[in-house]
C-alpha cells in the first residue's frame, strides 16, 4: 500500500497557480506558486541601459534576485546567474541592441524547489511583458532520497534530507535540457532517471502556461 502511494507521489508535481500582470508599474509581472513556494517577478524592458553595460549587438539582460530576508549573498548571486543564463538562451536579445531588459525576482515563500519556481515565474513575467522569445522554458526539481528513491518536486524538508538535488530546465519545442543544476552525490543512472522524470513532468508545466495565457486572452478570441 505504502509503495503504491509513494509511486504516485513521485510522479506528480505540486499544484501550480499563477497570476499575470498583478503589478501595475512593470511592463510585465507574474506571481507563481508551486505548492507553498511562491516567487514574484517583474520585467522592465527594453529600456535604456547604463553606458558601461551597453552591448552593441544585443540587449543586456539583467536579473536582480531579492531574498526573503537580508541582503543577497553568494548563493543568491549564483542563483541569479543560473536564472539569467537559462532565460537569456530563450530570449531574442538581438532584437534590442543597446537596450536593457531588467528582471526582478522576489522570493515570497520557500518550501523547496525555489530555483525551479524562480525560473518558471521569470518565464511567465517575460511572456506577460510581450518580449520576443525563441521558446518557453519550464524548470523542475527532483531529489534522490537517502533510500535511493526519486522524488519529484519535493518540499523543503525533503530537499534538506535528500542525498542529491537536481533542477532541470527544459525548452518547449523539443523538450531538450537548457540548464542542469545539481547538488550532492549521485550515480549516472540516478541522474538519467531524474532527468527523464522531470522531462515528462515538464509537459504539465507547459500545459499550465498555455492555460494561463488562454485565460488571459479569453475575452479577445472569437467564440
Amino acid at each position: 500500500m505504502l509503495s503504491d502511494n509513494k509511486e504516485n507521489e513521485t510522479q506528480s508535481i505540486r499544484t501550480l497557480s499563477a497570476e499575470l500582470s498583478n503589478l501595475s508599474r512593470p511592463d510585465g509581472s507574474a506571481i507563481v506558486a508551486q505548492g507553498d513556494t511562491v516567487v514574484q517577478s517583474a520585467v522592465y524592458g527594453p529600456v535604456e541601459v547604463r553606458p558601461n553595460k551597453e552591448l552593441p549587438d544585443k540587449a543586456y539582460f539583467d536579473i536582480v534576485y531579492k531574498p526573503l530576508t537580508g541582503l543577497p549573498g553568494c548563493p543568491e548571486k549564483l542563483r541569479e546567474r543560473v536564472i539569467r543564463n537559462t532565460l537569456e538562451a530563450t530570449l531574442l536579445v538581438n532584437l534590442h541592441p543597446r537596450k536593457s531588459i531588467n528582471l526582478i525576482l522576489q522570493e515570497m515563500q520557500n518550501d523547496g524547489g525555489l530555483l525551479a519556481c524562480c525560473i518558471n515565474s521569470a518565464c511567465m513575467a517575460l511572456m506577460d511583458a510581450g518580449l520576443a522569445m525563441k521558446c518557453l522554458v519550464a524548470a523542475l526539481n527532483a531529489v534522490i532520497t537517502t533510500e535511493g528513491d526519486v522524488l519529484l518536486d519535493p518540499s523543503l524538508k525533503q530537499e534538506e534530507e535528500a542525498k542529491a538535488c537536481f533542477t532541470f530546465a527544459f525548452e518547449s519545442i523539443n523538450h531538450e535540457v537548457i540548464t542542469s543544476n545539481t547538488q550532492g552525490s549521485y550515480s549516472e543512472t540516478e541522474f538519467k532517471k531524474c532527468l527523464e522524470i522531470c522531462r515528462s513532468a515538464s509537459m504539465k508545466v507547459f500545459d499550465f502556461y498555455r492555460e494561463c495565457v488562454q485565460r488571459r486572452f479569453s475575452k479577445e478570441i472569437d467564440r
Binding site: 500582470s21 511592463d27 527594453p46 532584437l95 536593457s100 511572456m127 510581450g130 518557453l136 525548452e171 478570441i221
Partner: protein, 245 residues
C-alpha cells in the same frame, strides 16, 4: 468578419507553417507581422498572444504589451525632454528618446522655428525606427502639411494605457470614442505608444472619458457596446455598474 480571423492563442516557439499553408493560397507571398519569424522554411511564433489573419496574406500575433517599441509610420505622443537650437528630444516611452527636428513642422524655416518648451506634448509620426538607431519623429506629412500633427494644447489631460488598449479603441469597429462624442464634447489624441490625451469641457467629462477608456481594457466587444449604449442614454448609474463589473 470573413476577411479577418482571430484564430487562436499561440505561445513562443510554436510552429505555424502548416496552419498558414492552409490559410494563404500559393499565389500569394505570406506577409508576417509582429510576433512571427521565419527560420529556414518554418514560421515560428515569438510572442504569446492571439494569432490573427487578414485576407489574403497577412498574419500576425496580437499581444499585450506596455512598453512601446517604435515602428516606422506609427503616430505617437511625445513629451519634450531637452531643447536644442536645431532639434529637440522627445520621450515616447520607448528605450531611447526620439529626435524631432524643429524644421519638420509645417512652414518652419531656419529663421522661423516653432517655439517648443520642455514638457510640451507633441503628436508626431515615427519617420525612422531601426533597432540600431534612435527613433526620429516628424510633425509633417509627405506633402509638408501638418495635418493633425503638431504640439498639443496645454489644457488637456494625458494618461498612459497598455498598447493593446490603444489599438482596441482606435480600431474602426470599436464604437467607444464615437458614442462618447455623441454624448459629451471632447477631443482625443491616442498615440500608438500607449499615451492618450483628452480634453473635455469639464473635469467630470474628462474623468468620464478617462474611465470609459480604461474600463474598456478588460471588456469584450459586446460589453463595450453595452457600456456605449448606457453612456448614450445618460444613465450614469448603469454606466458605472457596467464599468465596475
Amino acid at each position: 468578419m470573413a476577411n479577418r480571423l482571430n484564430c487562436r492563442v499561440v505561445l513562443p516557439g510554436e510552429s505555424i507553417s502548416n496552419f498558414i499553408s492552409g490559410l494563404v493560397s500559393d499565389n500569394f507571398k505570406t506577409v508576417l507581422g509582429p510576433g512571427l519569424q521565419r527560420h529556414s522554411d518554418e514560421i515560428v511564433v515569438t510572442k504569446c498572444g492571439i494569432l490573427k489573419y487578414k485576407k489574403p496574406n497577412l498574419v500576425w500575433v496580437e499581444s499585450h504589451e506596455k512598453r512601446y517599441v517604435p515602428v516606422r509610420g506609427e503616430y505617437v505622443i511625445g513629451i519634450i525632454t531637452t531643447k536644442g537650437s536645431e532639434v529637440v528630444r522627445a520621450d515616447i516611452g520607448a528605450g531611447d528618446s526620439a529626435v524631432l527636428s524643429l524644421l519638420s513642422f509645417e512652414g518652419a524655416t531656419k529663421r522661423n522655428k516653432p517655439n517648443l518648451q520642455v514638457g510640451d506634448l507633441v503628436y508626431a509620426r515615427v519617420l525612422v525606427a531601426s533597432k540600431d538607431m534612435e527613433p526620429e519623429l516628424v510633425c509633417v506629412n509627405s506633402h509638408g502639411k501638418s495635418g493633425e500633427l503638431g504640439v498639443l494644447p496645454s489644457s488637456g489631460f494625458l494618461f498612459t494605457v497598455p498598447l493593446n488598449l490603444v489599438r482596441k479603441i482606435l480600431c474602426p469597429s470599436c464604437p467607444l470614442l464615437k458614442t462618447l462624442g455623441e454624448r459629451i464634447p471632447y477631443e482625443i489624441t491616442a498615440g500608438a505608444n500607449g499615451r492618450v490625451w483628452i480634453n473635455a469641457n469639464t473635469i467630470q467629462n474628462t474623468l468620464l472619458v478617462y474611465n470609459a477608456i480604461s474600463f474598456a481594457e478588460h471588456m469584450t466587444p459586446e460589453e463595450v457596446n453595452i457600456m456605449c449604449s448606457e453612456i448614450l442614454h445618460g444613465n450614469q448609474e448603469a454606466t458605472l455598474v457596467t464599468m465596475l463589473k
